[in-house]
Subunit: 233 residues, 2 copies
């Protein structure tokens, strides 16, 4: 015989609604909402029920509460704590990029609840172009030295915006089916060919005829190089 099974053992839609609103409100106002503000937004007419949910969320570890303090709650790392200030953007690292490996693709429908912690980078909104909403940015970690002509090292993190087309002069991640290779280059459209220009001005560009296949996977928005550990050698 089964042990007592809770109707919804884990997190329910309502819990998520609450968490999302707390996060939203925090982003917008820099402070947590009051219980009544939550209730209004989540369509719960009684403060006691909101409290009821908050207690559960606290037990589940999604938030911490300070008793008897107005707005005394904060989202924990289990959610998306870091995004709290709204000045930050959590960009997921989808995987590696290396010559000879296909590029990881952005899956639609990844909820903001998916937070594999280590597999994301946090970026200040102020570092992005102001117009960039940053909704669907993603990041790739460069493996190997094949991107060296893009002035990008092994271990660098490139922040990308999904795109299938590019304007002249933008740096793009492209997949060259003919060579079975992924690379980062400045993109230029010329008369009857594409010019893929390495960032290192001492290197020669690659030319691709417009009849040949070329898949633009995204535009490079930013490159981050962490110098955590010393170079061995």
């Amino acid at each position: 015989m089964m042990m007592m099974v809770r109707k919804s053992k884990g997190i329910t839609d309502k819990h998520i609604k609450v968490l999302e609103f707390v996060n939203e409100y925090q982003n917008r106002f820099g402070r947590p909402p009051s219980i009544r503000e939550i209730g209004e937004k989540v369509k719960i007419s009684s403060t006691s029920v909101v409290n009821y949910y908050l207690e559960q969320l606290e037990k589940m570890g999604y938030l911490e509460r300070d008793n008897r303090v107005s707005r005394g709650m904060r989202l924990t790392g289990k959610v998306n704590q870091i995004v709290q200030a709204g000045n930050m953007l959590r960009v997921p690292i989808l995987g590696p990029i290396a010559a000879g490996e296909p590029l990881p693709e952005l899956q639609p429908g990844v909820s903001y609840m998916t937070d594999s912690e280590a597999e994301a980078v946090d970026i200040a909104r102020s570092l992005l172009p102001p117009k960039e909403k940053g909704d669907n940015l993603y990041a790739l970690e460069v493996k190997g030295n094949s991107m060296i002509d893009a002035m990008i090292n092994d271990g660098d993190i490139v922040v990308m915006k999904p795109a299938t087309e590019a304007r002249n002069g933008e740096m793009v991640a492209v997949w060259l089916p003919s060579d079975n290779e992924a690379t980062l280059k400045y993109f230029f459209k010329e008369k009857d060919r594409y010019r893929l220009q390495p960032a290192n001005p001492t290197l020669k560009p690659i030319y691709i005829k417009k009849t040949e296949p070329l898949e633009i996977k995204g535009k490079v928005v930013m490159v981050i190089r962490k110098m955590d550990k010393p170079l061995a050698a």
Copy 2:
């Protein structure tokens, strides 16, 4: 005859105390403090006086307030708003780094109130080594293509930690008085010389005898490349 001179026309110590506490509290708890909490910390016994200061700070543009909302305040960009969540670090950009130009120096005693907005970059603490407190980090903007052998482009921003010595394998900013040149290289101490290794493995290192002068100005902690605008060419 002088016009009415306010005893302290601008910001006073008390104002700064308030701002600092609000910032501290926000960092610590993810929410602004209440008026009474401020009063307690800033040694003001009356809530009305705290309110009095908050009104002034609002007029001066250091914070915004939401009327009749508990903890309804937030620091504006004029202060260090971005640092709100405590997950971010505002690193000042001290100036350019270029071959042939001396390196900007870190002045001690720069209060956190100095905030020339555009002249700083915001970095997620999670991107730094966990041990790094980040108290006295600074940033330099790379000018020209002279750092290309460090895999660093014109326009890149290098985040530095002050240092006069380095361990093997760390990337450092050095000033070579003999050549009158600033450069970024991986640092290695060998028998009777220093080896300055470019990041680009295809390039040859520079050797400096230990008798020759060599000033280490700092260690490179991170490199940020913003791809705001397309490459012209």
